[in-house]
């Protein structure tokens, strides 16, 4: 076989050689298959682990403990000016009514006991009463039962995170308070319900009152701005580079730099946004408008790259067909190329936006980490976004914030799943076969 002149293997010889190597080849195939399965199994295990960990920690964060108290909506004390205005309600004594209501249930004696009992109910109680009256002024003059959130330490105790056997000096609740909580439980006044504060509240120093609504709205506004800026710009740039621009050194240089931009750490875009949008243009800090603009910068390269790929995948025969009957370049692009590339472009955009939704670092740079209680009403109102909210909560020491951190993470993941699902549905729906 080494000598070219003596190659004259018979058919039998050849098939013998093939057969002898066969089992070794099969073994290799099987090994490769095994490695593949192991890799997939490992990935799936980690994913399940992650979901269980986040789920088990986060789902309790959707709920919280409430104490049911009987409130007498005293017209004189709640609405001293008698005009139901916000000013009047805030000069009223709604906080005092909550305290009186819990005193009447537990009948504490002396200063220290009263102080201990007062602390059992969240500070948000008065706000809840005012809220009820604003929604339904007819409540004034009546008596009704209302559920108030318990203080976060009480919540943690009821969940079993505070051990009553620990010496009093080492726990956040004293013996009086624990006894009173036991009394409330035995009177059936404590309930475990879906947390209205988590879903409809905004940032707060009190963990039992803190919620994600402000952050979710901030995120949605930022994403809307991001989409409005980056999608048209990205598609236009991709169409130009792929279909119109001549291939020369300059376009090659631009291409390389767009690919580089996609790999730039996101915090750099934050610094850019800080320097240009806030420093140079004088836009306000902490607002979703600037947040969206920074995210748009970050998303643009992703959109341009994926759009170019899907434009490149449009069969040239379709372009030829359009040009062949006299469509102009623009007509060919906008009647044929862009519609056919649209599913791919949208998928790329949504995936880019999903990345933007989870982005924290660039938004820290432009001040979206500020503590903002008000829910933003427009894109120029200060606000924060979901991942930054999670980041802030993760920094707090209170036990309840830990749950809220996990719960907010679940919400963030749900948004990501939702966006990816939309991407898949859009692609399936818009995809045309040819």
């Amino acid at each position: 076989m080494n000598n070219n002149n003596t190659i004259q293997l018979s058919k039998q010889d050849n098939s013998k050689i093939v057969l002898s190597g066969l089992s070794r080849r099969r073994r290799k195939d099987r090994r490769l298959k095994l490695y593949g399965r192991l890799a997939v199994a490992t990935a799936v295990t980690f994913l399940i682990f992650l979901l269980i960990a986040i789920g088990s920690k986060g789902i309790p964060g959707f709920f919280q403990y409430y104490v049911t108290l009987e409130i007498n909506f005293d017209r004189e004390r709640l609405d001293p000016m008698g005009d139901l205005s916000v000013d009047s309600l805030y000069s009223g004594e709604s906080e005092a009514l909550v305290t009186e209501a819990i005193y009447s249930k537990l009948k504490p004696q002396g200063r220290s006991q009263k102080k201990a009992v007062k602390k059992l109910v969240s500070k948000g109680g008065g706000e809840k009463i005012r809220d009820r009256i604003l929604k339904n002024p007819k409540l004034l003059g009546t008596t009704s039962k209302i559920r108030f959130p318990v203080d976060d330490d009480v919540d943690s105790f009821l969940r079993g995170y505070i051990d009553r056997n620990v010496p009093e000096s080492d726990r956040r609740l004293n013996d009086f308070q624990i006894n009173y909580i036991d009394e409330l439980v035995s009177k059936n006044l404590i309930s475990y319900k879906l947390s209205e504060y988590f879903f409809f509240g905004s940032a707060s120093r009190d963990p039992e009152l803190a919620g994600i609504k402000g952050a979710v709205i901030g995120s949605l506004m930022s994403l809307a701005i991001c989409f409005i800026i980056s999608f048209p710009l990205g598609v236009a740039a991709a169409v130009y580079l792929e279909e119109i621009a001549k291939k020369n050194r300059l376009t090659e240089f631009i291409e390389i730099n767009i690919n580089n931009l996609a790999a730039v750490p996101s915090v750099v875009f934050g610094i850019l946004g800080l320097a240009v949008f806030i420093g140079l243009f004088g836009l306000p800090r902490s607002v979703p408008l600037v947040g969206g603009m920074v995210l748009a910068l970050m998303t643009l390269p992703t959109i341009i790259i994926s759009s170019r790929v899907s434009i490149g995948a449009v069969p040239p025969s379709v372009k030829d067909a359009a040009l062949g009957i006299g469509a102009s370049k623009m007509q060919t692009i906008f009647h044929h190329v862009v519609p056919l590339a649209m599913p791919g472009m949208l998928t790329g955009t949504i995936i880019g936006m999903a990345r933007a939704l989870g982005e924290t670092a660039p938004l820290l740079m432009i001040g979206m980490v500020a503590f903002i209680v008000d829910i933003p009403g427009s894109v120029t109102d200060p606000g924060t976004v979901l991942p930054v909210q999670i980041f802030m909560w993760a920094d707090f020491a209170e036990r309840m914030f830990v749950q809220k951190t996990s719960a907010a993470t679940i919400i963030l993941l749900l948004f990501l799943f939702l966006m990816n699902a939309i991407a898949i549905i859009l692609r399936k729906k818009l995809e045309r076969r040819w």
Partner: protein, 271 residues
């Protein structure tokens, strides 16, 4: 073979390259891809109401030459065309010539059927729509119906005009593409191996159609099948390595070729 290609052209074949009253005439056309010369000094007239077939071995430049007639080569960045091509006396490579009206006058049918991923109706209506040829919806429907009838497809698709054009069979798709090309009322139709992706029955159908269409249009067809060239065309031009070797009446080129290369190709010795 290399020695043959450098032989001077037979003077008789050059005389036959020009016609009395041509629809289009190419004069001294050179085509370059970058530094490569793909077409070398070709002069050829295309007659009115007849089919001209371009034959020759693969890579001889016949498709490249065909695409010069509606400037489809413009879409290739590195491609340059020298010389003149006249359509009704105007140079289509003149700076003042716009490719949009040119391509409306010189339609094209491609090798692979390429209907748009749209309905059958929209495929045919696209050309009239972009050129603003129809006054109203009824007029447009008329144009579509007429074009489909002329392409011999109407009876097969009249009940499903709003189904996707891509759902038709290969032969039907190619006839749809022909209908799409004639819907804008061209003077010339270029066909680049229109049957190479089709089975013999669909091919026969297209050939029949080409023979009918020549009553109204000038047709230039590139084909690999010499039988097809013999069946459908009145004039045949044989290309080899970017040069026009011989052109003449189809019957004469196939029965008594003047050039030995042509003879070698059509008798199956090369190609």
């Amino acid at each position: 073979m290399d020695g043959l290609s450098k032989k001077p052209l037979n003077p008789d074949s050059l005389i036959e390259a020009t016609l009395e009253n041509p629809r289009m005439s190419a004069r001294n056309v050179d085509v370059f891809y970058g530094e490569n010369k793909a077409i070398d000094n070709v002069t050829l007239d295309v007659g009115k109401r007849e089919v001209t077939s371009l034959i020759g071995p693969s890579g001889c430049g016949k498709s490249t030459f065909l695409r010069c007639f509606n400037r489809m080569n413009d879409t290739i960045d590195i491609c340059r065309v020298k010389g003149t091509i006249l359509l009704d006396g105007n140079d289509i490579y003149d700076a003042s010539m716009d490719v949009v009206p040119l391509r409306a006058k010189v339609g094209m049918v491609f090798q692979k059927p390429n209907p748009f991923p749209k309905s059958i109706f929209d495929n045919v209506a696209y050309g009239p729509r972009i050129h603003g040829l129809s006054e109203n919806k009824d007029h447009l429907r008329n144009i579509v119906e007429k074009s489909l009838k002329r392409a011999g497809l109407w009876s097969e698709v009249k009940d499903r005009l709003h189904e996707p054009g891509t759902g038709l069979s290969g032969g039907q798709q190619q006839r749809l593409c022909i209908a799409r090309a004639i819907a804008v009322g061209p003077e010339v139709i270029l066909m680049d191996e229109p049957c190479s992706a089709l089975d013999p029955i669909a091919t026969a159908r297209i050939e029949e159609l080409i023979s009918e269409l020549k009553a109204e249009y000038s047709i230039i067809i590139v084909t690999h099948s010499m039988q097809q060239a013999a069946r459908v065309s009145q004039r045949t031009a044989y290309f080899h390595l970017g040069r026009l070797i011989e052109v003449g009446k189809t019957s004469e080129v196939f029965t008594k070729p003047k050039n030995s290369q042509t003879e070698a190709y059509i008798s199956g010795k090369i190609g």
